[in-house]
Symmetry: C3
C-alpha cells in the first residue's frame, strides 16, 4: 500500500499516512510569487515534462499572504494550488514562517535574535526571529492556523513543511527574553541551582550561582566560557527551536489531523545546534536538505555518509531528500557546478540509501534576490538547457524506479555511532587541539568501508546494537551515560568494537571523566592513556605497520590489551597506536591516532574480517553498492563513482534500462544501474 507509518511523539500510537506521491517524490521548491502569473501554466507544463510530481510551495511567502497585520491575501495561492492540482502535482505546503514580513519586523524589532556582542539582527535576511520570542510565536501561529484552515482540505495538499531549516539563521540568541527561557530550561534540567553548580563545576573561577536568575547566555566575555554552560546552551537552543516546531505542529494537527507534518533538517550542517536524533522523533517523516561542497574531493563520500546518517536518525525508515541542488549553489567562495552525470548520481545515491523522493532547491532560478545565482531545474537559460534536459531524464529514471518506494535499505552489519551532542561538546570549550573535529574520522571510516563495498549504518549512540557485528566509535568526545556498559555487552556478545581517539573524554555535563583516558571506555578497551600529544597538521608519523599517522598521539598503556600497531621512531617510538582487547569471540580495538587512508582501510578490513562481514556484493572498487529490500523484492543500486568501467557479481533486471543482467553486470564510468534482483 502506498502509505508510510509515522511514530511521531505527539501521536498516541503509530499511524499510517498516504505517501506524498505515486512512487518516488520528485520536484523542487516552487516560488510562483516571484513570477508573473502568466508564467505559471508554463511552469506546470514543464513540471509534467520533467516528471515532477511534488513541489514545496509557500516557503518564505508570509509577506505576500499577510500583507499587513491581520490582512490576508490568499488569492494567488488559491490559484496556484488549483493549477498544480489540475496538473497532477502534489504540494508540500510550507508554513510561511521562515521569513517574517517587513511590517512585522518594523512593528516588533524585538522578535529578532541578538548576537553575543549584543547586536540585534535587522531586516533583510530570512528566519532571524528568536524561537523564544513570545510575540513572534503569537503572530506565527496565527498565520499557520489561517493557512491550515484555508488549505487543509485542498486536494493538492500532501504534507506540511513547517517553516524552513529552523535554526539555520536563528540559532543562538543572546537577548534577555532568551536568557529567561534558558534559565527556565536550566531549572527544569538541573532541578536545583546546586545541581547546576555541580554539573558545570562552577567552583572554577568562583563562578558559583545562587539562583537560576543569575545565569546568562554565553555573551561576549573576557575569555572562554564554562564548557558545561556552553553545552547546555547548545542543548537549550536545540530544544527552543524544537519547541517552536512543536507549537506549529500542534496547530496543524489540531486543524488538519490527517495531513502528515515535517520540517527540513540539515544533518550535515556543522556547527549546527540541532540534536536531530531527537528532532527525528517529532516529525512524521524525516526530510533532509543536503548540499555538497564543491571543493571537497570526497564529496560523494560525504553525501553517502549524510544519507546513511539521515536514515540512522529515521530509525531505518525511508525518508525524503527534500532539498539538494541540480548544479552550483551560490554561497561557497567559488561555486563549482556539477560534472557530467553528477546530479543523477547524487540523486540516486540518496535514493539508494533510503530516500523515497528527491527534490531540488529550486524549480525555477530566481532573477532577483540573494539566491539569484543558485541553480535550479529551470535555469536562467530556460527549459532549452542541459540542466532541464538532464532533470527531465532523471524524472523519467525515477518513474522507472517507482516500485522501490517503500522498500528499506538492508540493515548493515557495521554501525558507526555519531551524536550531534558529542559534536556540540567538542566545540564547547578549549580542547587539546582545534584540529580534532567530530566529523573527520566518522566520514573517513565510512568512506573506507564504502570503498570496500561494505554497508554501514550511521546511528545515534542510543540505538540498539544487537544486530550489528561491528561497531565503530570515532571521536565520540562525549560519552552518554550507559554507553560504556552497552558496548561492554556488545563485545561480550561477540561483537567487534573499534573506538577512535578523543572518544569518551567527557560525560554528559562536558566534564572530563578522570582516571586516565578514554575515561568512559578504558575498561572496555583494556587500555589507559595518561597524556594527550596533539600533533601539528604538517606532522607525519610512521607506524610499524607501514602506515603513516598524524594529528594525534597519546601515551597508551595496554593494561588488558594486545598492541597491534606501534609508532616507529621519534619521541613516540614503541608507543601503541592500535590495540585490541579480545573477549571471547568479540574484540575491542582502540585507535590512538589519525591514520592515512590506506592505513585506515587496512585496519577496518581487519575488523570486518574478524567479524566475518561480507561486502554488499563482490564488485570493483569505485562502484558504490547499496541494497534496498521490499516486499518480496530487492533492489541493488550500483553507482559508478570512478572514471573507468566497473563490474559487479550480480544479476537481475536493470530498472533504468529494462535490460536483464545475469551473474555479472558492468557499469560504465559515472553511470548507474539499479537491479531488481531475483531473490
Amino acid at each position: 500500500m502506498n502509505t508510510f507509518t509515522s511514530t511521531a511523539d505527539d501521536l498516541g500510537a503509530p499511524r499510517e499516512f498516504p505517501w506524498i506521491a505515486d512512487g518516488l517524490a520528485y520536484g523542487g521548491d516552487y516560488s510562483p510569487e516571484q513570477w508573473p502569473e502568466e508564467v505559471w501554466p508554463e511552469d506546470v507544463a514543464l513540471m509534467r515534462e520533467a516528471g515532477v510530481n511534488t513541489v514545496n510551495l509557500g516557503v518564505f511567502s508570509w509577506g505576500l499572504l499577510e500583507v499587513a497585520d491581520g490582512v490576508f491575501e490568499w488569492g494567488w495561492l488559491d490559484r496556484i494550488m488549483d493549477l498544480l492540482h489540475e496538473g497532477g502535482v502534489g504540494v508540500n505546503l510550507a508554513t510561511p514562517t521562515a521569513a517574517p514580513p517587513i511590517w512585522l519586523l518594523q512593528a516588533h524589532p524585538e522578535i529578532t535574535t541578538v548576537d553575543a556582542m549584543g547586536v540585534r539582527v535587522s531586516q533583510g535576511g530570512r528566519l532571524a526571529w528568536s524561537p523564544s520570542s513570545a510575540t513572534f510565536r503569537r503572530y506565527a501561529l496565527r498565520v499557520v492556523r489561517a493557512m491550515a484552515e484555508r488549505y487543509g482540505s485542498h486536494p493538492a495538499l500532501r504534507l506540511w513543511h513547517v517553516s524552513n531549516e529552523l535554526g539555520n539563521e536563528n540559532a543562538r540568541s543572546y537577548d534577555d527574553e532568551t536568557g529567561a527561557a534558558f534559565q527556565r530550561w536550566l531549572a527544569e534540567r538541573h532541578g536545583s541551582v546546586e545541581a547546576l553548580n555541580q554539573a558545570w563545576g562552577s567552583a572554577f573561577w568562583g563562578h558559583h550561582y545562587t539562583a537560576f536568575e543569575q545565569v546568562q547566555p554565553p555573551r561576549f566575555a573576557s575569555t572562554g566560557h564554562n564548557p558545561g554552560l556552553l553545552l547546555d546552551f547548545e542543548r537549550f537552543t536545540s530544544d527552543a527551536l524544537l519547541g517552536y516546531y512543536e507549537a506549529e505542529r500542534a496547530v496543524l494537527r489540531d486543524v488538519t489531523p490527517d495531513i502528515p507534518i515535517t520540517t527540513n533538517f540539515m544533518v550535515m550542517n556543522e556547527p549546527g545546534v540541532h540534536d536531530y536524533a531527537r528532532w527525528a522523533k517529532a516529525v512524521d517523516v524525516v526530510a533532509n536538505d543536503h548540499y555538497t561542497i564543491g571543493a571537497d574531493p570526497h564529496r560523494a563520500g560525504e553525501l553517502a555518509f549524510s544519507a546513511d546518517r539521515t536514515r540512522g536518525i529515521a530509525a531505518g525508515e525511508s525518508w525524503l531528500l527534500i532539498e539538494h541542488s541540480t548544479a552550483a549553489v551560490n554561497w561557497q567562495g567559488v561555486n563549482r557546478a556539477k560534472g557530467p552525470g553528477e546530479m543523477r548520481r547524487d540523486t540516486l545515491a540518496h535514493v539508494a540509501r533510503g530516500a523515497d523522493g528527491a527534490m531540488f532547491f529550486q524549480w525555477r532560478a530566481s532573477t532577483a534576490g540573494s539566491e539569484q545565482f543558485h541553480s535550479s531545474i529551470v535555469p536562467h537559460a530556460g527549459a532549452d538547457s542541459t540542466i532541464f534536459r538532464d532533470a527531465a531524464a532523471l524524472g523519467s529514471d525515477l518513474v522507472s524506479l517507482a516500485r522501490v518506494r517503500g522498500s528499506r535499505v538492508e540493515r548493515a552489519k557495521v554501525a558507526i555511532l555519531y551524536d550531534q551532542l558529542s559534536a556540540a561538546a567538542l566545540r564547547s570549550g578549549r580542547n587539546p587541539s582545534n584540529d580534532v573535529t567530530s566529523t573527520r574520522e566518522p566520514i573517513a571510516m565510512h568512506r573506507a568501508l564504502t570503498d570496500a563495498g561494505v554497508a554501514v549504518d550511521v546511528l545515534p549512540s542510543d540505538a540498539a546494537l544487537d544486530a550489528y557485528a561491528v561497531v565503530l566509535v570515532p571521536t565520540l568526545f562525549l560519552a552518554p551515560d550507559g554507553l560504556a556498559e552497552r558496548l561492554d555487552a556488545f563485545v561480550a556478545g561477540g561483537g567487534h568494537l573499534l573506538v577512535g581517539y578523543s572518544s569518551g573524554i567527557v560525560d554528559e555535563t562536558n566534564r572530563v571523566i578522570p582516571g586516565g583516558y578514554p575515561g568512559a571506555f578504558r575498561e572496555t578497551l583494556g587500555i589507559r592513556s595518561d597524556e594527550h600529544f596533539p600533533q601539528f597538521a604538517e606532522t607525519v608519523l610512521r607506524l610499524d605497520s607501514g602506515a603513516t599517522a598524524g594529528r594525534w598521539v597519546e601515551r597508551v598503556e595496554a593494561r588488558d590489551a594486545e598492541v597491534l600497531v606501534r609508532f616507529d621512531g621519534g619521541d613516540f617510538h614503541g608507543w601503541p597506536a592500535v590495540t585490541v582487547r579480545r573477549v571471547g569471540s568479540g574484540s575491542a580495538r582502540y585507535l590512538a591516532t589519525s591514520l592515512d587512508d590506506a592505513g585506515l582501510a587496512q585496519l577496518l578490513a581487519e575488523v570486518v574480517a574478524d567479524a566475518g562481514v561480507a561486502p554488499v556484493v563482490v564488485r570493483d572498487r569505485g562502484l558504490d553498492a547499496v541494497r534496498r529490500v521490499g516486499d518480496g523484492a530487492s533492489y541493488l543500486f550500483l553507482i559508478n563513482q570512478s572514471d573507468r568501467p566497473c563490474t559487479a557479481e550480480a544479476g537481475g533486471v536493470d530498472l533504468l534500462t529494462g535490460v536483464t543482467h545475469t551473474g555479472r553486470v558492468t557499469v560504465e564510468p559515472g553511470a548507474v544501474v539499479v537491479l531488481e534482483e531475483a531473490r
Copy 2:
C-alpha cells in the same frame, strides 16, 4: 592661452578658467600648521629650489581655523597664504571639512557615520561624518563660506579643493538619518513602492514593501541582502556624497564665481562607492589621487590604467594628478619604497596620459600623527636627502615639459569600457565566484595592449564609440540600458568588439537577464550559455590554441558565431573558449574564460590586427609610448619600464635633454624621453 574649459554641470555654459600654474602644476599637500612658523620661510625657499609652483593648503585644518563654535582664527592661514604668494607658489585651497574639529564632534556626536552593526564612529580619525547629516552640513557650509569670503580674492588662490577624498572614510552610513535620506532617494528613483518591489524582486523571501518608510539601509542581517537593495544603497551613497560636494560647491560659486572648483577622486579605490563618471561632470577639472601597491608586480600597468581611466571620465580633457607618493606610503602591510627612477617614471606616466600637473602627498613629512611614516618631498631627513634631490630634479623636468600643458592625449583606436556601477553590482550579491572581480580582466587587457604599444582609452560605457575601431567589454557585469544596441551598431558599422565572461549578466536593477548568458549581449555575439562553471584558483585548463586558462568556464553554444578556440581535454573538452560573429567588416568576439598573459596578448593581437590598429610607434617591448597632441605640436612620451635599453622608431627634440633624435631613439633602462615631434 593658459586656460582650461570647464563644463561643470552647474555652469550655464562651458566656461574658461585660468590654469592653476604656469605650465605643469607641481607640488604637494602642505600642512604648515604642523610646524613652527619659523620653518615656513625655509619651506617656501625649498619649494622654489624644487620647482614647486602649487600646493594644496588647508586640508584638515578646520580645528585650527575654527577653534570653537563660531570662533575663527585666520591669522596663521593669512600669513602663509601671503608668504606662498610672495614665493610664487599658487594655492589649491582646501575647504577644511575633511576633519571636523574635536569640539564639533563632542557637541554633535550624531554627525558621524554608523556601521552596519550599529556602532557609531568616534573621534580620532578623519572624515567620519555622514553626508546625510543636516547638522554637519550646517557647520561645514558656515566654515566654507567664511573661508571663501576671506580668501576668495587672495592672489595666491588658484583652485578650490573641496574637502578631501570624500567617501574614503565616510561612505555607507547605516544610521536613521541616513536611512530617511535613502528612503527619499528611493522614492525619487522608483516613483512608487510597487516599482521598487518590482525592481528589487522583493517577492523573494516575501520582502514585500508597502511604504518607502519600511526600507532600511542594509544593516547587520541574518544572511545576504537583496542585490537590488545593495546596489541602490551604493548608488544612493555615491549621490549623497556628491550632493554634499555640490552643497559646498554652491557656496563657493556664490562667493567666488571666478575660482574653479574640484575635489580629489580616488578612481582605483576598490571597493569604492563613487560613480566617478558622474562626479566628473560636477568638477571644473578632474583631479585624482593615485597610490601604487608595492606588492603588485604590475603596478606600472595599474598606474597606466588608472591614468587612462581618469582621462576617460574627464572625457578626454586634461586633468590633474593631485596626490601620489614620492616613495613609500604607511598604510600597506609592508610599505615598499620606490626603486631608482620610479618616482620620476610614475609622475611622467601620469603626465603622458593627460595630467597637466603632478602633486605629492605631501610636502614635508609629519613627525606626529597617524601618517608620520608617509613619504614626502622633504623627508624626515630634510632637504639633504635623495628624495628631495630627486624631487627637485623632477621639478626641473616638469619645467622643461611646460609646453605640454594644455595638449591632449591622442585619441586611441581601442576603448575598454569600465563602469563603477558594474563593479558595484558585482559586489552586491552572492555571485558564482568570489574570484571574479571587476578590475582583473580590464587591467590585464589594458596591460597586454600597452605592452604591444597600442594606445587604449578607458571609457564609461555611455561614451560615444564612433571613433573607435576596437571596443573591449571585460567583466561588465551590469549591462546599462541601451548598451547592447549601441554595440550592435558599432559592429554593424565595421567595429571590432570583444566581450569577456561575466559581462551583461544583470540589468540596471541588478536582476539577472534571463534566457541564456550573457543576457544582454548574446544576440550581438551570436552565442548563448546555459550554465556557468567557475573554477578554483589553482585550476589550469588547456585550450587548443596552446594557451592556458582558468577561473571561469561556461557552456557556450555558438548559435550564430564561429568557434576560434576550444577547451582541450577534461570535462570541458571541445567547449568554445573564444567565438566570433562576423558582421560585414565588423566582428564580435566572446571570451568565455580567463586567459594566461600570452594567450590574452595573442587574442588581442588578432583583434587589433583585424581592425588594422597600429601601435603608437614602432618600438621595443618594455617601452611605454603615449602621444599628446597640442596646437601644431605633438609630444611622444617614451618611458622605459624595463631593465634593458629600448629603441623606438621616432624622432624629434627630447624636451628633457634638448637632444635631437632622428628616426630612432634609444631609451636607457628606467629612463624617459619626451620627444617634441616634427609634424
Copy 3:
C-alpha cells in the same frame, strides 16, 4: 640566612623578609574548592610525595568566599590552610579579586571593561573588571582586608599573591569612567592641554584640544589614531592597573606588615600593556608566569630570554617562577605536549637564570571549567602517571639544589636593552612595516649569544651600563631621553655598542626624531639614513660577507663610520649593511638589516671578540651554560638542549647526582648537570 631583601617603593627603606620556602620553592596553583573535601588529604599527601613545599591558594575563589554581598564563608579556606600547614606546605595566598563573583557582576555590570566598539564585557570569564572602576575597587578592597585580617597571622602564610595576571583580560577599557581617569592622568602628565597638543602633534588632521575633557580613549574611529595618544593610552593603562595593585598592597601592608607581597607578571606577553620595569619596583619579589609556545622551534631560547629579562627587571635579584606548565596548555590552536625531559629542562633553565622557585599552573587538573584541558602536576589520570612521576623526581632535584637558593646569577658582560614602552610605541601607529616587531631581533641576538656560550643580561634601558663590555640595542624604536648620551659615554669609556635597525626612531612622545635616521643615535653611530626600504617577508638579499638578510634595508650614509658589510647586487648594491664607528678602544656598530642566523652569530662573535668577552665556560654548542654565585660557592648549570652528548671544561660536584667531575663533564642529550664549583 633564609631571607630576601625587598626594595619595594612603598617601604621607607630596604627590608628583609623570610624566604617563602626552605630552599627553592616548588609547587603550583591549588584549587581545593574544585574538589570534594575528602580529596584534600590525598592532595597534601601527594604534595609531600612530590616535594611540593608551596602552593598558590585562593586565586579566583572570591565567589566561594563572599557568597553574597558582605556574606563571608571562610570555613573551607580555614580548613585547607590548616591542612596544608600540617602537611608542611607553605601558602602564597591570593587575594581573590581576579574573578568577581556572579552576584557582584549582576549588581554592578558597570564594573567591567568596554571594548573600543562600545561593547561591555559580560560575565563568564575572569578579570574583566576595569581598574578605573571605583565601585569595583570598593568591593575588592573590602574582601582583601577581610582576608588579610583573617589569615594574616596564619602560620602557613608565606606571601601575598595579589589577584592574578593583572591586565591579562582587563587591559584597555574604553568606557567613560576610564575616559575620565585617562583625562586626569593626562592632565598630570602634560600639565597643560597645550603641552599635550605639542606632544601629540595634534595639529595633524586639526585634532587640536582645548580642554583635557575633550580627550577620549582611542575608540572605534574611521582610521588610525594619533600615535602619541595611543602610546599615552598604553602608559595610562599600565599605570591604572599598577595603581589598582598598589591599592590592594596598601591594605595588605596595613594589616600584615610582615608578609611580603607580589603579583604574577607575564613579561613575554605581547602585546602586553605593562611597563614591567616600573611594576618590578612595586613588589617585594618579582614573580613571573611563563608559557612556551609549542609551535616555536626556538622555544628554549625564548624561555631563556624571558628568564634573563625577568632577572633584568628584578635588578639582578633572585625572583620566582610562579607559573609555568608541566605539559600542554589549552589555549593554543594545537596544544603541543612537552617532550622527554622538557619539563625538567624548562624548570632548571629558569632556576639557572635566577629563579628561587618554580611553580606550575596547576596542582590538579580541573575536570570542569574552561581550563579543563590545561596540564597539571596531578593530571586527569591521577598520580599514577608519567607527569606526576616526573614532577616528583623534579621535586627531588630541587631539594638537591636547595643551597642554590639566594645565590645570584653572575653578572654578564653583555647586555641587551629591552623596553616594554618601546614595544608599545612600535605598535602605536602605522609604521613602515608590520613585519618589524619589538621582540624578533632581541630574542635572535640573545639566542645567538647563548648558543655561543656567552652570558647575557636583558635590561631596561635605564639600567646602569658601566659594568658591561657590550651593549646591544635591537629594535629599540623609542629612544628614552638621555639614552643617547649614556650610550655615547659607554662607547667613550671603551664599551662596544651594536644598534639594530628601527631603533631610536621616535622620542618619548612617539614623534619621529627628524634629521635622518636613526634620529636618536646617528651621532653615536656616525651614520645617517635618509630612507627606509622595508622588504617583503619572502625577499632574500645577499651581503658581501656571504650572509643573507631581509625584512629591512635603509639607505645608510657612513659619515663618521667604517662600512663593514655591504649589500651585494640588486637595487641596494654597495649600500652599507653593517657599519662601525671606532672611538678609542670602544666601538659603535649599526646593523641596518635583519640577518640570517649564521650572519647574526658571526657579527655578534666579532663584537664579543672586540670586547674580549669569554663564554661562561668552554663547552660544546647545544649546552646552555649559566653560573649562579652565592656566598663562597658558585653553581654552574649545564643544560643539554641538543640531541647529542655535550661536554664542558668544568668540574665540581653535580648536585643532582652527587657525582664529582674533574676538569671536564659530559652531559647526555636532554640532561642537566649542576656543578657546585670549587672556587
